[in-house]
């Protein structure tokens, strides 16, 4: 007999039991598609250009990250001839992508004790 109406579970406990069920089902580790536009969409069909726009690929060599899902896979399949795709564990933000693309400074600052700043920080 269902007694939830008479003795409702406190919200905090409900939340806790929900968390436990999710963890018990052991969801696979989430991963992302790293998608780069390497061929331009100019002159391709309206539909393909729409897919590029939906993926956020506005120009060549633009890289975006999308979670692995059948939806994303279907979108990639529509424009697969124009892309480079790989699977990664963690998406990078646009700022991180920008940082990675910067050339090396060409110098490093020595600290007292002969420690290189860049080596120490990394």
């Amino acid at each position: 007999m269902f007694e939830g109406w008479l003795f409702p579970t406190p919200l905090s406990q409900r939340g806790a039991s929900l968390t436990i069920t999710i963890m018990a089902s052991v969801a696979p580790k989430m991963s992302w598609f790293k998608i780069t536009l390497i061929r331009s969409g100019i002159g391709m069909t309206e539909r393909q250009n729409g897919v590029l726009k939906a993926l956020g690929l506005r120009h060549r060599l633009k890289t975006v990250y999308h979670p692995v899902s059948p939806d994303t896979a279907g979108m990639i399949m529509k424009v697969k001839e124009l892309l480079a795709v790989s699977e990664v564990d963690k998406p990078l933000t646009q700022a991180e992508i920008h940082e990675k693309r910067q050339p090396a400074k060409g110098y490093y600052i020595e600290k007292p004790g002969g420690v290189r700043e860049d080596v120490e920080s990394s």
């Binding site: 598609f33 692995v68 697969k80 001839e81």
Partner: protein
Amino acid sequence: MFGAFRSTQARLSGLLWKSPWRLSSSQKYRHRQRLRRVDRIVDVLDKALAKQGMTAAAVERWKSEMPTEAEMKPRDKYTMFDPKEKTYRKGVHKLPKWTRMSQRVNPPGF
């Protein structure tokens, strides 16, 4: 006869674009690389989805219908069906935007 004012087909008849009837060996090489890149992408999608216990209809359909670069015969790789040709075949590079689209299968018997 020679030099800038020589009588060529292009000079005698306005707009004239010529394209060779067959692919060069380096065009064929780059074409194979492109085919393999598409194969790799389908493979990446398939493996990533399988890890999550998912499938995508578009990926499954491609896998069941399309041959990979290694499975394709040279005939299908570098030429395609054309009903207007005497041999029913033309170079795949005659297909508009051929470097950016997939053309892998041809009608059976041709």
